[in-house]
Amino acid sequence: MAGQPRGNILIDTEECKGCGLCVESCPPECLELRPELNAYGVHAAHYSGDGCTGCGICFYCCPEPGAITVYRLAPPTKPLVQGESHAAAL
């Protein structure tokens, strides 16, 4: 999975009020407002699909409790305990 972004974001289009604070805050600038309106007439925020680092800044800048969920790439499973089965890694 090389090249897969470290983070991912899901934005609840219905809970988002389109304030744009997450778009402004996102360090890698990977969020944007959707061009189309949602059911409540706002341009909800949206992850462009690339570049998320999973830093969580957008989560803290968003005033809605559950509009943003941030994901991080699970650390690769470590089958080895250092030292003991060092040979197996080779």
């Binding site: 999975m1 897969q4 983070g7 991912n8 899901l10 609840d12 289009t13 219905e14 809970e15 009020k17 389109g18 304030c19 744009g20 604070l21 402004e24 805050s25 360090p27 949602n38 706002v42 909800a44 992850y47 699909g49 999973g54 969580g56 800044i57 989560f59 803290y60 800048c61 968003c62 005033p63 809605e64 409790p65 559950g66 509009a67 943003i68 969920t69 941030v70 994901y71 991080r72 790439l73 699970a74």
Partner: protein, 509 residues
Amino acid sequence: MSTDSKADVKESEILAAGYQVSHSKSPVFYDTYERKDELQHQTHYCPGCGHGIAHKLIAEALADLGLQDKTIFVSPVGCSVFAYYYFDVGNVQLAHGRAPAGATGIKRARPDKIVISYQGDGDLAAIGTAEIIHAANRGEKITVFFLNNAIYGMTGGQMAPTTLVGQKSTTSPWGRRPVNEGFPLHMAELISTLEAPVYVERVALSDNKNIMKARKAVRRALEIQRDGIGFSFVEILSPCPTIWAKDPVEARKWVAEKMIPVFPLNVFRDRKHEPVENAVIPIRPIPEVLEISSTQGGTAALVLPGEPSSPKHTHHFQEFAIKIAGFGGQGVLLLGQLLTEMGMREGLEVSWLPSYGPEMRSGSAHCHVCLSKERIGSPLISHPDVLVAMNELSLRKFAPQVAPGGLILYNQARLPQDFQLPQARVICIPASEMADKLGSTKATNIILMGALLEETECLLAATAEEVLQTKIKKVEMMEINRKALAAGREFIDHYVRVGAVSQPDGFAY
């Protein structure tokens, strides 16, 4: 979490791609908000409002510190009045500005709980200035989150005490002028001048960095309460895009550019440990409080706390409530004080609550006396077991309040002609005339006390004599009072039959 059907990505796909949730809606929030029938999936706050961010920081800290189940959240008046629809914790909503006062009561009654007062600047810094200053000065072990947005938001943009100089509002349309409206109130600085507060910090929701600082401050304030150290106060500069007429991003910048220079961000106080001296309430033995020696008086029914000897009087009640009412000067309040002191000597919990007008003589006065075997919750008595009515006015006013099956002692030979007999028994005693014959009408209250003790047997007459002995210095007055006490008791024994109800004609049938 429900996502729009139009969403390009589903949660299951993200998880399948090897991602784990790192930040999501806190379990401290309810799943849906039942304030209204519609829009239950989002808060009522405007887009870009600082309240939502502050709520999330508090919710996250409560969840991380494991405090959700022991938190009592006090909502204010203002935009955040509905916080109780969002936080899945214990919730109380209080009158405008009074949150710290209510939080004080809650925390003192339940010191093991985490009590949070969440207030805006109109609530805390205007109508509630007295409450916050005194709660802070008393060092109540509560946490106050103060959301300062320099304006009244919910009511539509009036000037607040925190409004900046020159800032326009509906009540300062040409901008706030110090010459007319004064200067912005710096609450964090004010509170940090007091000795008691342990933690005072001002943070801002102005940009990523400051929001993360606010997150730390919120957590620190709650940790201080969790550890029982003392009063913690966090002022949070917060954007109000709607009233400031700015878009959310601009509003956030306005906090940074305009508010922070006026309200500098700082940790004003962060004390690690509370000074512990005087932290324990001194409990003094009753004889010391009453200034009597425990050996004094052989007839004393004095019971010392923790003393194994059985009291000489078995009180046949769990709680006994007496209301005494009459004209000021009739000894209404004094009679109540005597009864409470007697109760103390007999080892009971007691309370005495006086009520009288500004005139100390001839106005109407009454007092509530509560005798109890357990700690008394409230000294206020709504339905007394006994009413001592020392005049007609008091009889008419308070007789309907007497508990069914209760007793009324009325200071007259007979009831007024048109008086409807209430649900209680009435005993008429011409106590004033009797006292006059004994040498002083001042002893009226003591005659009624004698009658009260004889009829209800709530306390011992011997204790009454002891208390009178300590209060009355003149020998001749003591003699009159002793006779008065005896006369009251004798009246019950000889003139009133058991279970008798006095009739308007003065006879008991």
